[in-house]
């Protein structure tokens, strides 16, 4: 059986955990250490923590908090947010983080991808690409932090990141973020065809069949936020994760 990683993607803002809707309206969902502890108990495949305020506020990673989070994780942990240099990445690896996710730094100075990959291996570097469709449905690169984008050709950005040593691409469909309304399969398919390395699809997952749709479109792994922290129509906070048997049945079912 070929299985795919299913990755809770947690967003940090002001030291708390939030969940956004289309990259806006951050809603507080709880204490990060407590949430990570619960996800650890649920034996998730991997965990991703992104500090969405760091770059915007012009600060680096909150190393103290990250060390505490890493101490709770007996599965791979990827951290992103505010990583500006090779030194930041090296500090994170020492704290017990397996992978670093880069976005603004990768857009502004792609050389940092190579520097980190040469030190820690390409498998430790995730480049995060946010893509938003315009009113005509045309996708282009989106910068949530406000970092200037050199070119809007999002597929060229993926190719460039891989050429510089990215071991994985995190593709987030901005229009689907937090909506629970399904993944953007066309976007995933294009990205997966373009990236030679594993692709993590993020944005829109609201059910197990959405996860399967993402892998059928070519994603190697699927990340989700709202699906794992909200429950019911009123978006009550409840941390969940599919049982392994349910995931196994999902991978074994015909496409």
């Amino acid at each position: 059986m070929l299985s795919h990683r299913v990755i809770p993607c947690l967003l940090l803002n002001d030291g708390g955990l939030v969940k956004t809707l289309k990259f806006a309206k951050p809603k507080y969902v709880g204490d990060p250490i407590n949430a990570v502890r619960i996800f650890n108990e649920k034996e998730v495949d991997e965990l991703m923590v992104l500090d969405i305020g760091a770059t915007r506020e012009g600060r680096g990673p909150d190393f103290d908090l990250i060390e505490q989070l890493a101490g709770e994780c007996f599965m791979p942990l990827c951290y992103g947010g505010g990583i500006r240099s090779f030194e930041d990445a090296r500090t994170l690896f020492k704290l017990g983080v397996e992978k670093v996710a880069l976005q603004s730094a990768a857009i502004q100075s792609p050389g940092v991808i190579r520097e980190i990959a040469d030190h820690a291996g390409e498998q430790a570097v995730v480049v995060s690409i946010d893509v938003k469709r315009n009113w005509r449905g045309k996708p282009s690169l989106f910068s949530a932090s406000g970092a200037p984008i050199r070119h809007s050709d999002w597929l060229a950005s993926i190719r460039e990141a891989v050429a510089m040593g990215a071991g994985e691409i995190l593709l987030t469909a901005v229009d689907r973020d937090g909506t629970l309304q399904g993944v953007d399969s066309d976007l995933i398919r294009e990205a997966a065809n373009c990236a030679e390395v594993p692709l993590i699809a993020n944005g829109g997952v609201g059910s197990l069949s959405d996860i399967r749709a993402a892998t059928d479109a070519g994603a190697s792994a699927v990340a989700a936020g709202a699906f794992f922290v909200f429950h019911g129509p009123h978006r009550a906070v409840l941390i969940t994760y599919p049982r392994y048997d349910d995931l196994r049945a999902l991978w074994n079912s015909p496409s």
């Binding site: 059986m1 070929l2 299985s3 820690a120």
Partner: protein, 221 residues
Amino acid sequence: MTTEMAFNAAEPDQRPDVTIVDCGIGNIRSVQRMFEAIDGRAEIITDPGAITGCRRLILPGVGAFDAGMRALAEGGWIEALNEVALVEKAPVLGICLGMQLLCRHSEEGRAEGLGWIKADVVRIDTGGDARLKIPHMGWTETYAAKPNPLIPSDGAEQRFYYVHKYRARCDRREDVLATATYGTEFVSAVHRDNIFGVQFHPEKSHRFGMALFRRFLELPC
């Protein structure tokens, strides 16, 4: 009860249960944390001189084969490791790149490996399945290839987290401890005498990794 505990704690020259080699090529903190989580005592050493008398040895590693061997050679580790593994015969566990370094050579580079396991390291063979990207990254069910002290062959599920582009190819069938499949079946753990190697990351494989570490702590030393 109190006296007995005090006696145990007071033994001055009792080395920790495991000694983790830190030559700058691995995420050693995660390995130590998992041993601590199962109440094992784990020390990290950065100097090969500190290896003498260790009870059980862990050789973690990520990155390229030649870089790993260079780190061992430049740090003066090789002689010390040979002494522990081949003369003192302490239980040794190589993890990920650490497992590959136990072998003779790797297609990935030109350096000579430690050569303790009669195996060469070759690229993953996905069997031509274009959906399978390299590296193989994720959780994969793993099967014991022979009765062994680390991975039960009782049919119970064993699942581990892998990140690798290369795999071991053993000369001798009996040195294969476990296998897994990514496109094609590959050797996911090796074993000869007191020497063990796993391609996956037990330290990142929650309860399955903890159980494996627990069994490693039970190996006589």
